[in-house]
Amino acid sequence: MGIFFLAAAVLSIIFGLLSGNMSGVSSAVLEESGHAAELSLRLLGSLCFWSGLMEVAKKSGLVEKLCFLLKPLLSLVFPALRNEKAALGAISMNVAANMLGLGNAATPFGISAMKELHKISGFGKSATKEMVCFVVMNTASLQLLPTTVAFLRSEAGSKEPLDILPAVWFVSACSLLLGIFAAKITFPKGEEK
């Protein structure tokens, strides 16, 4: 992450000088952390709400049911988690929310899944293979019905806003599989933790 920031800063200065918009770059430095605070404040409410619902779903046994349904799929991606009920449960909730297009809910579920994975790793500072796969899975789209896109398309006067569905599924599936495959084969060997 440090390298990312250094690269971002150096490149921004170079390109800012070239394009003559250094004032924009410098106001980004001043303002973006404020935007980050706004975003996490907005996130705060939904994190509380969905973490609360997650707890209800956990205690009532709903998570276990969902977990059972998704287990064949998840054990392919996370073979090492076969007996980790808590982690698999949170991952199941995250996957279900993603598929339904409930992004606001998927993030809190995803964070609780990360916490479970962190616990399994013994609270290390480096990501484990499972964490990498899980995060990569969340950076690809699992959404079955891209409702926002469909809505905007119908607003724009598209005759069939949902005709893109097969193409969206194809793209999601291909990029998801490729991402997970890459995450698995390029994960550095040996130096665990």
């Binding site: 394009s19 430095v29 509380c48 709903l62 339904l100 990501a127 891209p146 990029s175 490729l178």
Partner: protein, 175 residues
């Protein structure tokens, strides 16, 4: 059709279902809920430092005009696979900024015929990918992971492939 499929229905229904299941199973829904919500409070506080870091970096790059320069560089390659030029900025915005990508996409929807090739590629790309860097920062930030290993390269590979597959998929399914 459109209301049946919309998040406007799915979201309240999912909430009602989870609460309803809890009540049916005689869970003390309210106190369990508040117990869980406290955990959310802690997560939000853990996420903010990572977001400050990430968003400042992304914001600087966005303002510097780097996007335009990269697009100029990449255009000869993207032309070869038939990627529509006007959608190119979207492919670069998508992994970095959710709101930026959505804003750009809304603008595209207004300016292009919605059932044109370019608009469809843009729509498929929007529907088939996510805001990579935000996800990475939030998920690792929440648990204090310093070293993400190969996460970003693998996720970016998925993003690049999503852009390429979008053109392929529109040609395949919508011609």
């Amino acid at each position: 059709m459109s209301t049946l499929l919309s998040t406007d229905l799915i979201l309240p229904a999912a909430v009602a279902f989870i609460i309803g299941y809890g009540v049916m199973k005689k869970t003390d829904v309210f106190s369990v809920f508040t117990e869980g919500a406290k955990e959310g409070l802690r997560s939000a506080a853990a996420v903010l430092p990572a977001l400050c870091f990430l968003m400042t970096g992304v914001g600087m790059m966005r303002e510097s005009g780097m996007l335009e320069a990269i697009i100029g560089f990449i255009k000869p390659f993207s032309d070869k696979i038939g990627f529509p030029e006007e959608v190119l900025p979207l492919a670069f915005l998508r992994p970095f900024s959710g709101s930026g990508a959505l804003g750009f996409y809304e603008e595209l929807c207004k300016n292009l015929p919605p059932d044109s090739f370019s608009a469809r590629v843009a729509s498929v790309l929007m529907g088939g990918s996510e805001t990579t860097f935000y996800t990475v920062a939030v998920y690792y930030g929440a648990i204090g992971i310093k070293n993400g290993r190969n996460t970003v390269p693998a996720a970016l590979l998925a993003d690049v492939s999503a852009a390429i597959f979008s053109v392929l998929a529109v040609n395949l399914f919508l011609r």
